[in-house]
Symmetry: C2
Amino acid sequence: MNPDVQADLPSVEAPPNEPGPDDVWPLFIQFVLSLKSWWGSVCDDLDITPMQGHALRALDPDRPIAMSLLAESLACEPSNVTGIVDKLESRGFIARQSVGHDRRVKMLVLTDEGKATRTLLRERMETTPEAVAALPATTRKQLATILRDVLISRGALKP
Amino acid sequence: MNPDVQADLPSVEAPPNEPGPDDVWPLFIQFVLSLKSWWGSVCDDLDITPMQGHALRALDPDRPIAMSLLAESLACEPSNVTGIVDKLESRGFIARQSVGHDRRVKMLVLTDEGKATRTLLRERMETTPEAVAALPATTRKQLATILRDVLISRGALKP
DNA sequence: TATTGTTATACTCTATAACTATA
DNA sequence: TATAGTTATAGAGTATAACAATA
């Protein structure tokens, strides 16, 4: 990844079109772009790729989940998950397990090392953007409500 | 891109770890992931790749901008911008122009066709997420203020 | 027949490094 | 020497299609 970015949020030039006072959607888009570099640098520190990081983050430390569910969480095709899981498995972070009732399904479990790395990742992920953490609790709560409503209303999050 | 996703926001399985009531940052991360598929499908409709779409969006219809500035807007290395611009140029969407005072710099201008496609893109980009558009104007304004403050506070947006 | 995961393939995205042409 | 953009390269991310094993 780009090593020049700040550890918490990358410095991105403002786009040519300054957003208007109520132009909230373009702000979201730009926010997403700025997060791309940030996430890359967070994962870089743990020597994993961005998608490996997302997988590690999405896995449940207490409960195995199926490959197909991970594919949905990562919003990509199952064929790609195979490669991502392969690499995490070769690093010793996760393991594939079979379940008795359906031998087609492979469940993914985090190893102890995987859990430790996942904890590091989530710590950095949650503590890094000071600008968000510094928001007043009420504002953060408002923001969470809005984001959750948006995700739920489109079926991207279960109520 | 994945053709199964909805036109406005993809249906993504909730992650194994349900976010808490004030767990705003994980919500942002998930939001980013859900936008990835959405942006891909928006660009698919216009027969451009996601990064070509971002470039088209970042370009100024009224004013040429330098390659280097586009690289910053896209949060990627200048070497990659060459290829992205090449493709947009071969599609007839943009053109490289030289400026007199420094012949190393190449300025990017949108062609009429590029402007038209950019307009289509921005229309879909802005109108698509009904969940955001449906928010009360005051809430949208609050949200815009929060996002802008976060971006500005980290130098990702000029005040 | 349908589904889960894999393999094979082609393309896009990405950073690094070496290069050119300017300054 | 330094900078703007290009080329070359290697690796990561992505969707599609064909496949094996299982249901």
